[in-house]
């Protein structure tokens, strides 16, 4: 029982990452009809926005400390971040400590800008090309983006910890009446989950309750009619691409304390997030979110010792198995609209 509750928690948390990425993918597919293989790269760039900001915050000048020696026996060069000079040591440290949450503000405009540039500069020319071409060009773009990041940041993961206030974990078990220390969950993961819920809710509300969102939804359903009404749907779609990029980017920023970011994290997530989108139903936003959580939970259950003892290796393939079964039995995915890329 405890194990199951725990794996559901795990699944929700994993699922929130999948859902966030898949949500962005679906926004792009639903609005623009473009299959974007570079979406994982946007997630990765988001994460590196956090790295960049923490690098900026720790920009330092060196002072020579004669009392200490470095590894070659020379006087130690001590790096003093400029924020210490500006705000004093305590405030400075606090700012550095909060680099990841601060990165949200930093990453938002950058990601929207990257999204818009990408749409205007590249994706736009591929609206009328076959899906295969879209996949291929965005795949090429993903390679280029990740190689650029690797060139500047190296191949090694870069630790970007959460603020000290969120270290440690919360004892759910004790709250629910189980033995203490049985069902614990890290604070930061709880925050990640809440953040994902917030973003998903925000995107839905935005599409549901604003005029902008209404026009976009109408455009998703029938682009030509909306254009006939004299609405410049293209500009709105460009903004939607920016929004989707921002969603992916923020998912990346918030993910950095969970796993230290590296240049290939986008590719690691890419295949998976496509499976999520396909399972949820191409172009269906609620489907993407639902499938994200569902696959997260299934993956968590498949990683249980008890399950692995019966089915060794199931944790390696569960996601793909689910995808195959869903695609064969319900081609339009869990919540896909009838007729949208059904065959």
């Amino acid at each position: 029982m405890e194990a199951i509750v725990l794996q559901i928690l795990n699944g929700l948390d994993k699922g929130s990452a999948y859902a966030l990425i898949a949500l962005g993918l679906t926004l792009i597919f639903g609005t623009l009809g473009v299959v974007n293989f570079a979406h994982g790269a946007l997630f990765m760039i988001g994460a590196f926005c956090a790295v960049t900001l923490s690098r900026i915050l720790t920009l330092s000048h060196t002072i020579i400390d004669d009392t200490q020696k470095d590894f070659l026996g020379n006087p130690l060069k001590v790096e003093v971040p400029y924020v210490h000079d500006l705000f004093g040591q305590t405030t400075g440290d606090a700012i550095i400590d909060w680099a990841v949450p601060l990165s949200i503000l930093f990453a938002m405009p950058i990601m929207i800008l990257i999204g818009i540039v990408m749409e205007r500069g590249l994706i736009r020319h591929f609206y009328n090309r076959p899906h295969a071409d879209q996949i291929l060009v965005t795949f090429g773009l993903a390679i280029v983006l990740q190689e650029i990041i690797k060139y500047y940041f190296g191949a090694n993961p870069i630790p970007t910890p959460a603020p000290a206030a969120f270290k440690g974990s919360f004892d759910f078990g004790a709250m629910l009446g189980f033995e203490p220390n049985r069902i614990i969950y890290p604070y930061w993961r709880i925050i990640y989950f809440s953040f994902a819920a917030l973003v998903v809710g925000g995107v839905f509300a935005f599409l549901q309750f604003t005029t902008f969102g209404m026009v976009v939804r109408a455009g998703m359903a029938d682009r030509e009619t909306v254009q006939l009404l004299g609405i410049d749907i293209d500009r709105r779609f460009t903004l939607m691409f920016g929004l989707a990029a921002a969603v992916a980017g923020l998912a990346g920023v918030m993910y950095t304390p969970i796993n230290a970011p590296n240049y290939h994290m986008g590719m690691d997530f890419l295949v998976l997030s496509f499976v999520v989108v396909v399972v949820g139903g191409m172009g269906s936003l609620p489907g993407a979110v639902l499938a994200g959580f569902l696959l997260g939970i299934l993956e968590s259950f498949a990683s249980m010792r008890e399950v692995l003892n019966i089915l060794p290796g199931i944790n390696q393939i569960i996601i793909y198995l689910v995808a195959i079964v869903i695609l064969l039995t319900r081609p339009r995915g869990l919540m896909g609209r009838k007729g949208v890329m059904e065959d």
Binding site: L6, A155, P159, P161, N181, R189, I258, N259, M304, Q316
Partner: protein
Amino acid sequence: MSKSTFSRRGVLQTGAVAGAGLAVPTIFTASSAAAFTNEPTGGTVTLGFNVPQTGPYADEGADELRAYQLAVEHLNGGGDAGMMNTFSSKALKGNGILGKKIEFVTGDTQTKSDAARASARSMIEKDGAVMITGGSSSGVAVAVQALCQEAGVIFMAGLTHSNDTTGKDKKANGFRHFFNSYMSGAALAPILASNYGKDRKAYHLTADYNWGYTTEEAVRTSTEAMGWETVAAVKTPLTQTDFSSYIAPVLQSDADVLVLNHYGGNMVNSLTNAVQFGLRDKLVNNKNFEIVVPLYSRLMAKGAGANVKGIFGSTNWHWSLTDEGSKAFVKSFGTKYGFPPSQAAHTCYVQTLLYADAVERAGSFNPCAVAEALEGYSFDGLGNGPTLYRAEDHQCFKDVLVVKGKENPTSEFDLLEIVEVTPAAQVTYDASIFGGELGSCNSGA
């Protein structure tokens, strides 16, 4: 920056054989006129440095390459000669190898066996390399070692920790200086027992591939011999990035130690996740919950950041060692590149020196002569204390370091501190326990 030219085929380096229409049948590229594959006939000799330059281990590969360049510089008589001064053998004279200037070619293994073999073959077939070295994973090491055996060149393994490399997949032309899973287990267990007690329950998370299996096996056997109990061992997919669903159930299992048989990105992520879950703040069975990482590398420690603090693991070498050899190496590497070398850099540097020395002592580049010179060779002064290249399996036996994540690092390189230098005798095992056959050396002739 040195301005030199590289990559010639051995045959033509003298220009002596340049006659029109001369056709020579060859097996691989050892021409029948030569005594063995790629016999250097000119004033230079070419070595092949095959390291990951793309993919997740690219940074490790870059560090290995730095070490190789440094070794070549020293062997050719440049720089401050580094560990050549402290090496017990005095055969090296700083004039290249056997008077031939060393040139080198580099390649990208991509940490894939196929790519690594393609790259190694191009070095042998195109560039005339007489020795191949490098790599940062056991899969690549085993694949390239088998290739070198077939081609008739010497393979000096880089970073490879699996028992298989000098165990079931050992080859007469392959040599490993780096330590292995068995040694990690044997070195770690006593330290773990003395620090954490003999009454412990361990939970293993193991990367689901060969290296993971051998490491789990080694740590299990040696800790169980100390009285520990293994509660569970769960395999995790290599492609896993988020380990939460594997780590969360650990506390429910009554275990009080978590062993992470992971390497590279897997280790960085699983350790980060485990620390995040606050496992180390917990009390289980009235003991502090502990985490162990059998194989440490500095680059991984850097990736995991503050999470490594206080966590035990083993390593082949660390720059904070204070013997003369290590100091000399750290000094020349640090002076040239501005930061201390990693253990991968160390083993690659040492392997290059050992190869050059063996050639000098054998008086020939012939792989069989070199192998003979290396087999059963005892040396000292290369950073790990007295070391033996065992003849039976071509594995080096030397001290193994047990290290711990440092609580108060003074720099981004100062992440590990040495807890114990486990003497070689304690990690030595019988050469036959892993099976495999060495075969006989192949010179390609």
